[in-house]
């Protein structure tokens, strides 16, 4: 796959291009990096309470095993369409908390192996969409929008498609 090759080069090349371009524009790269890093640090600390709140609630829900129990009941249906039920709790959590679904992804990778079918589906689901409900509440909340029109339905429908597409792609590419 050519995409895999590109992927290997992408990060180093992006870093290289940023630095070279900045040199050309006579930017003080070190100072600029420090300033950005400071902002990044502040931001990281400011999102910490949100992270704790979301992971705390989703952890209690997940460790109660209610999602697994519900999906186990439906296992025959999902087996028939070749969807591993193990990834479904993550699919439910993905639009609500990116950090919680990230934690589930790590759990799945630990349990089933990083290069397993399930491990790859989890990574693809994590990488191909973002947290709809969190972004919605954060962005619209910040400017005081009350009527959000079709934003949530469009977002959630897109999430559903992302889950389906992830499973199909992993089956086809790595199958």
């Amino acid at each position: 796959m050519i995409l895999v090759k590109i992927g290997n080069y992408l990060i180093p090349v992006v870093v290289l291009l940023i630095i070279i371009y900045a040199f050309k524009k006579k930017v003080n790269v070190y100072d600029s990096f420090i300033n950005g890093a400071k902002e990044g640090l502040e931001l990281a600390i400011s999102i910490f309470p949100y992270l704790v709140a979301m992971l705390f609630a989703t952890n209690i829900l997940l460790k109660s095993n209610i999602l697994n129990s519900l999906f186990s009941l439906a296992r025959p249906i999902f087996d028939f369409i070749k969807v591993p039920v193990e990834v479904l709790p993550m699919a439910i959590i993905r639009p609500i908390s990116g950090n919680a679904s990230f934690a589930i992804m790590i759990d799945l990778i630990k349990t089933f192996g990083v290069d397993s079918f399930i491990g790859r589906i989890a990574a693809t689901m994590q990488g191909s969409t973002d947290t709809t409900i969190y972004v919605l509440s954060l962005y619209f909340g910040s400017i005081g929008i009350k009527k959000i029109g079709h934003a949530m339905w469009a977002g959630l429908l897109t999430d559903l498609v992302s889950i389906i597409v992830s499973i199909i792609l992993v089956s086809v590419v790595f199958g």
Partner: protein, 196 residues
Amino acid sequence: MIMMNKIWGVFIIIGILFSLFTGNIESLNNEIINSPGEILNIFLSMFPLMVVWSGLMNIAKDAGLLDKLSHLMTPLFNIIFPEIPKGHPALGYIASNLTINMLGIHNASTPFGLKAMQSLHELNEDKKKASRSMITFLVLNTSGVTIIATDIIAVRSLYGSINPTMILSTTIAATIITTIFGLIIDRIFYHIWRKK
């Protein structure tokens, strides 16, 4: 925000009730006692990456690379955001936000996203209602256009993948398909909602 409050509370109530019902008290206790430590570990593993990329992004911003990017994206923006006037500052913020998302540093893109929203709000006529451009921007954000999923590659290498970046082939393909679908859905819903 109302939505978030409900979801948060309901998660905890359902989780605790189901644990009590299934006699899962020990694991529930463990969860409540140990989960803050686990959360701190997750935070510690992701935040150095966030700091590094915020630094690199600041260099890109100071060098004018992000402005250049918004210029490059203009033809695309004309199609996706027909209601934003050309050269409006909102487009610069949107371009920066999308680019940082593409590089997979979602937490670093948040400040640009918030600025983009504020800027779009200035164009908004009804201050209580989300404008068409705002919704499109949100759909674009929630579909998460990610080219390099930095954090995922980091996790995959941490857990000994034979080729951590191999996952990019499926994440990139999935993100492109999902984003195109999201934009189409947004258009269709916009026309349906308007008729109501």
